[in-house]
Symmetry: C2
Subunit: 197 residues, 2 copies
């Protein structure tokens, strides 16, 4: 489990309310770790009873009161211990790949449409990332240095979306032409890598 740790990471960067954290999981870190507000509130309760976080109630006029959480030193210890532990290879569960695997049962027209929609969705995501990258590069050197870790995760996202889009386009075209790939993927990638030098 890592929701626990993801929350500790966020609170270490900056204290905040459950609502706050839920917002942050909806963008930025949300691109590689998803959580809903229900999960966040539950987890905060647990973390709080384990004294890894603590909170203060902020009474607000005009807005509902809120509990502002911050990480405790015990929490920071847990976080650092977690960072030291090697993680297991992530396992992928991709519905789209299961569908492609079973595509002989599907209606080709529908499948083509679905791939098309998927390509659009991922292109949109990529455009979002591209804009964030543009912003990053327009910041001054000090800010860029401070933000380098989040930026590196963004680079991962860009590569990921790009690759995924390339693959989907390839599949869409092959299915449309009822064709097979001509060359092994490994060969194509090796050639592209060489071309860089």
């Amino acid at each position: 489990m890592s929701l626990k740790h993801a929350i500790l990471v966020l609170l270490d960067k900056k204290p905040g309310s459950g609502y706050d954290l839920a917002q942050r999981f909806g963008g930025g870190i949300g691109n590689f770790w998803h959580a809903t507000h229900q999960q966040v509130y539950q987890e905060l309760k647990k973390l709080s009873s384990d004294q890894l976080v603590e909170f203060e109630v902020h009474t607000q006029a005009e807005r509902p009161d809120k509990k502002v959480y911050r990480i405790t030193s015990a929490g920071r210890t847990v976080l650092k211990t977690w960072l030291k532990q090697p993680i297991k290879l992530a396992r992928i569960n991709s519905t789209l790949l299961v569908k492609i695997y079973a595509a002989h049962l599907a209606d080709p027209v529908e499948l083509d449409k679905e791939l098309g929609q998927h390509i659009v969705d991922h292109q949109q995501k990529l455009a979002e990332y591209a804009e964030l990258e543009r912003l990053y590069f327009s910041a001054d050197a000090a800010t860029r240095r401070k933000q380098r870790m989040p930026y590196l995760t963004l680079r991962s996202g860009i590569r990921y979306e790009w690759t995924w889009i390339e693959w989907m386009k390839e599949v869409k075209q092959l299915l449309a032409n009822d064709a097979l790939p001509e060359k092994p993927m490994m060969e194509l990638l090796a050639k592209a890598a060489k071309a860089k030098h």
Copy 2:
């Protein structure tokens, strides 16, 4: 949920016992849909009570008896209906990215070691995929045509591992040199794409 559908897909290709399916989830389809034997047995029980699959007990000498499951026509209908339904954008939960995001709290030496290990793990996976691809290309044209959908999923796996490895190598090097990326990722990818023509 898709374990249900993944099982139906597998049984549609070929009937088999729970043990059998669990093996198949450990390789091939397991590369993009993971399931343990406990999950498989539970799910088969549900599918069976919903009459989407049926089984026959095969008594074996020298081996434990087994239940050989096959998909029913109701199951095939459910499967086809599912194939028609558009799927939502997959959400990613990547522990490694959370760690990188929080890397300012980590010991650089440990982080470097962990990245190194991860690179090795993924290179191993990639080598596995490369071997499978070699096998695919050494088959005759008819076999290649029949296996094209599984092969397309393999291509996705190859691209995925390759990209992931490239990113990790980049991060490892940047951290080792305490450097920042010089050029936007979008620019680098666009240039590489152009070079193909």
